[in-house]
Amino acid sequence: MSDFQPKIVAFVCTWCTYAGADLAGTSRIKYEPNVKIIRFPCTGRIDYMFLIKAFANGADGVIVSGCHPNDCHYVSGNFHARRRWIVFRELVDFLGMDVNRLCFSWVSAAEGAQWAKIVNSFTEEIRQLGPYKAYMELVKKDKNESVF
């Protein structure tokens, strides 16, 4: 299972986690290449539908990360985001999705090493979990099933 290369997408806010990832870059901290970052103005902007779309497009894991509470550049964006994450996570867990494939975190602009740590540990967790077969079948069905 160890040669499985998980596909992970990370939704991050530009003021904190994106800057943290930049810092990890400037300090040349090495981490797994499986995570690809998409930049949002704020975690408040990240709609839960993006997470669902990510899985629908074949992601094996999704990271959502932004500023620590009280650090948000837009004052309350991360608070609203946290509210949604709590309800969304309970719902999809209830629906039977594997919530271990969702990683929510706070990473500030100064925590380059913390970002690398999260990426490495999450990639390893997803590598243990393997590809998200259940959702893959869902997607395959969607593509070519003629519906009666």
Partner: protein, 573 residues
Amino acid sequence: MEKPRIGVYVCWCGTNIAKMVDVEAVAEEIKNVPNVVVSRNYKYMCSDPGQDMIINDIKEFKLNRIVVSACSPRIHEITFRKTLKKAELNPYLFQMANIREHDSWVHTDRAEATKKAKALVTAAINRINYHEPLKELSVDINPATLIIGGGISGITAALEIADADKKVYMIEKSNKLGGYTADIDLTYPHLSSVQQMLGPMIERMKKNKNIDLFLETEIKEITGYIGNFETIITPKNDNETKLSFGNIVVSIGLRSWDPSPLENYGYGKFPDVITSVEFEKMLLSGNIAKKDGSIPKNIAIIHCVGSRNKNYHEYCSRTCCTVALKYANQLRSAFPNASIYELFADMRTMSKGCEELYTITSRKKVVFMMFDQENDLPGIRKANINDNCEMIIELNEKRSRKFVEVPADMVILMVAMEGREMVKEVAQITGVSLDGNKLFIEKHPKLDPVATTTSGVYTVGSCQGPKSIPDSVSQARAAVARILGTIARGTAQVAGTTAHININICCGCQMCISVCPYSAISFDAEKNVSVINEILCQGCGTCVALCRPNAIDIWGCSNRQMTAELTALLLSD
């Protein structure tokens, strides 16, 4: 929207990217992505030839969209947007893919890094298909300035702006000007009097017609945006006044740390263990004496009280070493044959003239002893009768690696500087964020330490980090230069990436109104729809993700763009 004609430029960034990412292969493969007209790779895209190449391509191939995959957009997005403006192309028809900080610098496997680069560039391309040309809103600037905090940096800023004949409103919480500096007797390293320096400045402040001074006033709430801020203040025993101004200077400074949590120093328990602030008051009053009025024979000064220690403040408060040397000099001149001991962790005498002060002080028979401020602090205990001194400081002296006792009749603690008690509220009010140590976060630690990420708000002086007087004053002047520049221009550009509402979908549930941190959304009663004030909107997008029927979308980060980027990113490998 005309058919997208995209130009893609993959940058080498010298070897920074090219070493780990096969840039040619990326540029080659990008050629056959739909709508891509030009796909080049070049050594330094941010260089002038690199930018000229873009401008020529735009003219030659009539490109209407540019994707540059190089470093982080936080660094060069502005540069390339200016390039597009030069080529008369709307600057928002531009997207960067970060293949340096997020790819070449952080990965070790060249094949993986190249594959990731392709994915990131394809994603950026797929996204830019849905970019719309946006107009930058320009906002006219109210020439007045609000200064919060009347310390040395606040006063300098006020005088500087007033001299440029612009209006200044100064808000000061306490009933006197000068802040922390006013309680200082002499400055270091030249031991010149502060009162002579500060006195005339405060006089000029009071007499200056351009400066409205509001003492004993606290700031409650600031509404508006760069160029058009407003606040209502209630000075003590005075009625409410409404102020409108264009820029804000936050100079609330820091306060001295109360050392009582450090039990081993016994501050509060021993009467003669005093903080540097209290000692400064003694110097100002002219008589240095113990609480019982007698002259101290043994005086100890302890550095790094509360600074550079994980349990209290991890940062160095920067000025206390040189201030301690100043005290040693003043003590030696006051008591020629007293024993003066100076317990320090590291002697940090950075700015001009301070090393010389240290050399002079060391020639004045001051005993310097070194301790470890992180995990082995000295302790103070009551001396027993035959010690002919008040207290004994037990110290594990690092240089001689010996346990020694230092006799002391008076101990001066060089306490750390920390955030003022109302710093959280001021941060919330001005929309600037604080770091873990309750210090204001500057826009860029190196290139822009005076401004903040909230345009129009500047943090100067030690509230942005412990500082000496010369540093605070130079920061104040730097902020004023920026403000006068903005006022001179008369207008400020506000990003066009704001939210917009489709009124025939909005069903008037007003959930977006309660979410908006900048109250940029108001309710139009008779049309029963929400309306967005484009200038107030900072483009955070919280309302977009909240609106159930997707009536709100945001320029520059629309749902179509983000889903396009997401699908391309995941489907590309």
